[in-house]
């Protein structure tokens, strides 16, 4: 009888230990999963930002190439004007997005990608500003127009 009771007690404690052991291991796995999922999210964020940077730089290259357009008729100028207005709006959105990454940047998360994002935004601004300059600002500057004519006579 005593043996049976003691065995039951032993089993009970064993079961309790097994339960704790199992739950602790489960919890360990869950914590690992949480950390893995966190690291995966950072990697996804870095990849997304990398792709975004690539796309912005491609658009900027495309805008820069427009300064080599030969056709400068009213229809083209009107389209370029529309493009510049749209680009300014996109730039404002991108800057807001960059500011929203401040906490990540300060924590050192995706620091390089965020720096490259800012560089891509700056280049984007540069490209549409140069386009505006070439088609709308300099053609109104008489000295500039005269200098161009003189260079073309060289």
């Amino acid at each position: 009888m005593i043996v049976t009771i003691e065995r039951q007690k032993l089993d009970s404690v064993m079961n309790a230990i097994r339960a704790v052991s199992f739950s602790e291991k489960q919890e360990e796995k869950t914590e690992e999963e949480v950390i893995n999922s966190y690291l995966d999210s950072i990697n996804d964020f870095k990849n997304e930002l990398g792709n975004k940077n690539k796309k912005i730089n491609e658009i900027s290259d495309g805008i820069e190439a427009l300064t080599w357009l030969q056709n400068k008729d009213q229809e083209i100028l009107s389209q370029l004007n529309e493009l510049i207005v749209l680009a300014k709006d996109v730039h404002a959105t991108l800057i807001r997005k960059y500011i929203s990454f401040n906490n990540f940047r300060q924590s050192g998360i995706a620091k390089n990608e965020i720096t490259e994002f800012k560089q891509a935004i700056d280049f984007f601004k540069e490209s549409y500003s140069d386009l505006e300059c070439a088609f709308f600002t300099f053609p109104k500057n008489n000295d500039f127009v005269t200098a161009t004519k003189d260079f073309e006579k060289e």
């Binding site: 280049f123 070439a134 600002t137 500039f144 260079f151 060289e154």
Partner: protein
């Protein structure tokens, strides 16, 4: 094909190449301006819309590198280096204003008309630009 520059450009290069941050600037310029066919220099942003004498702003060494302003006189295949500024480092700055871009352009016209220029070549080890006064 011949490469010339304004005095200001020469001074900018001398100032920048003294800093470690811009150690590779002269090699970068040699690679860009001397190692490719003239036609390929017609890239970057064309600021004056001219077919025969394009005034160009070019990014060198990626978006965080330098901005070089130069003029091509197509019929003579001449290149005039007018202005350079780094985007990062101790002398790094964002873009120059439209007024400054126009001013540099006008100064270039005066310098070319008066031959107040330097002929630009490079050293045998291709690490340094060599400037020779024209007049």
């Amino acid at each position: 094909m011949a490469v010339f520059c304004l005095e200001d450009f020469k001074l900018q290069i001398e100032q920048l190449s003294r800093k470690n941050a811009y150690r590779g600037i002269e090699s970068d310029l040699i690679s860009y301006f001397f190692d490719k066919p003239f036609e390929e220099l017609k890239s970057g942003a064309r600021l004056n819309l001219s077919e025969t004498a394009p005034y160009i702003k070019k990014r060198i060494d990626g978006s965080g590198g330098y901005r070089v302003y130069y003029l091509l006189i197509i019929k003579d295949q001449n290149i005039y280096l007018l202005f350079i500024h780094p985007k990062t480092g101790p002398f790094g700055s964002s873009n120059i204003t439209d007024e400054t871009k126009a001013e540099i352009y006008k100064e270039a016209l005066i310098a070319i008309n008066t031959n107040d220029l330097y002929r630009v070549t490079f050293s045998n080890d291709r690490k340094a630009l060599v400037f020779e006064k024209m007049k």
